[in-house]
């Protein structure tokens, strides 16, 4: 998901086929990316509501545009691959899945549109999702926390694998959405997490100032 940070974004979305060069990518690759986007975009949309974050809402819109383009690409690619009725039949299934992924991303776009509504009751939005099964939280990483210098992958597996870091906000450096597993965490980063209540708690403890007590033992005890 590299090429999605297009600069030009306005509320009026460009049509998917505008400015799309045909990229020779396989249907398999395109569909994988569409699935990944369809999952990330819903997480980001709900967390945009929870944190009333315009930046996250903007990222959702970027992903929505990306999804439109992917859906256009996959249609082109599928049509070019089709040589017989049998091909066409088996490709319609793929296109239907792709279309559904795009519909999910459109729904996520609709969700974040609520953030830009000029309605004074908007502050109740974070409340709506507070009791959902999977929770979102934003955790600041202390500058001397043991998570500093760890990669995103290490941070989630070492604290408990049950939180998913869906975004990181760098001090003075903007956002990293859906960070690669190799991204290293820094002090004062704010990590946006999705996961179980336990997972949030474990991550929060790890993100605090490094305590002299051995955290490894503490974690072992929780396992039972």
């Amino acid at each position: 998901m590299a090429a999605r940070r297009d600069k030009d974004h306005t509320r009026k979305r460009p049509k998917a086929y505008e400015g799309v060069e045909y990229e020779p990518r396989s249907v398999r690759e395109l569909l994988t990316e569409m699935k990944d986007v369809s999952e990330l975009i819903v997480d980001l949309a709900y967390s945009a509501l929870v944190f009333d974050s315009k930046e996250m809402a903007d990222e959702v819109r970027q992903l929505e545009i990306r999804m439109d383009k992917l859906n256009y690409q996959i249609r082109l690619t599928a049509m070019m691959a089709s040589r017989s009725l049998q091909d066409a039949e088996s490709l319609t299934g793929i296109l239907q899945v792709a279309e559904a992924a795009q519909n999910i991303s459109d729904a996520a776009g609709d969700i974040v549109d609520l953030i830009s509504e000029e309605i004074d009751t908007r502050p109740f939005l974070p409340f709506v999702l507070r009791d959902a099964d999977e929770k979102f939280s934003a955790v600041r990483i202390a500058s001397d926390s043991r998570l500093v210098g760890r990669t995103v992958q290490e941070a989630s597996t070492k604290t408990s694998a049950s939180v998913n870091i869906i975004a990181v906000r760098r001090r003075g450096g903007g956002w990293i959405f859906d960070p690669e597993p190799s991204v290293k965490l820094r002090g004062n980063d704010i990590a946006v997490l999705r996961g179980t209540e336990d997972g949030h708690g474990m991550f929060q403890r790890a993100a605090r100032s490094a305590a002299p007590a051995s955290h490894q033992r503490g974690q072992g005890a929780e396992r039972q």
Partner: protein, 211 residues
């Protein structure tokens, strides 16, 4: 956004809409379960799971209708059209997600030869779906999912449990696991070996990370 000053209004501010929120969350959970199940149905080419999605779709429709009707009543009572508008728009977006999941399930149910590319694409995804049998020596035996804190330990969310010929869809923390159950779970790749270990099951080659 600031981690320290998360402002969450209390129930009083939300007034008569708070009961509604329960149904809205149920709709959200249902729509997310449906998406997870639909990708699983495609991956395993499972008509059983696809049928369940069709059933859940009816449930989601009913929930959406319930949310919209109750919201309208509440708007009439409280004259708070703004909150009502947001509730309805949210319910519609969630229902749209449920519809999309149902449309994916429809691909499984349709009587055409399955395109193997769909399964291959889903396997390459960053979030994996895996299925694992709970072995006789597994610490999960006769424990509830909440008791063993499966999600917290492995990062894998169990989206369905197959027990013999029946399924438990969207199990909750009170669902008790038995030896021989097959868990279908989604989560990060790193969670898969942890889940297999907890289930006392060998990781097969095709469940392993390919890269």
């Amino acid at each position: 956004m600031n981690a320290e000053d998360e402002k969450v209004p209390d129930k009083a501010e939300v007034g008569g809409f708070s009961e509604l929120v329960k149904n809205l969350l149920k709709l959200k959970d249902t729509s997310e379960l449906m998406v997870d199940l639909s990708y699983s149905a495609l991956l395993y080419d499972s008509e059983d799971i696809a049928h369940e999605i069709a059933y859940l779709e009816d449930f989601a429709d009913a929930l959406e209708k319930e949310v919209v009707l109750t919201t309208l009543n509440e708007v009439v009572r409280s004259e708070d059209a703004g909150t009502g508008y947001i509730m309805i728009r949210l319910a519609q977006a969630m229902e749209m997600i449920a519809d999309a999941a149902n449309s994916m399930a429809d691909v499984v149910l349709r009587d055409i030869e399955k395109n193997p590319v769909i399964g291959l694409s889903l396997r390459d995804s960053r979030t994996t779906i895996t299925s694992v049998v709970v072995g006789p020596s597994s610490p999960l035996r006769n424990k509830s999912l909440g008791e063993v804190r499966l999600a917290s330990e492995s990062g894998m969310w169990v989206i369905a449990v197959r027990r013999g010929k029946t399924y438990i869809y969207g199990p909750d923390e009170d669902t008790v696991i038995d030896a021989g159950d097959t868990l279908i779970a989604r989560g990060p790749r790193e969670g898969v070996p942890v889940l297999f270990r907890l289930c006392g099951s060998e990781l097969k080659d095709d469940d392993r990370d390919e890269d």
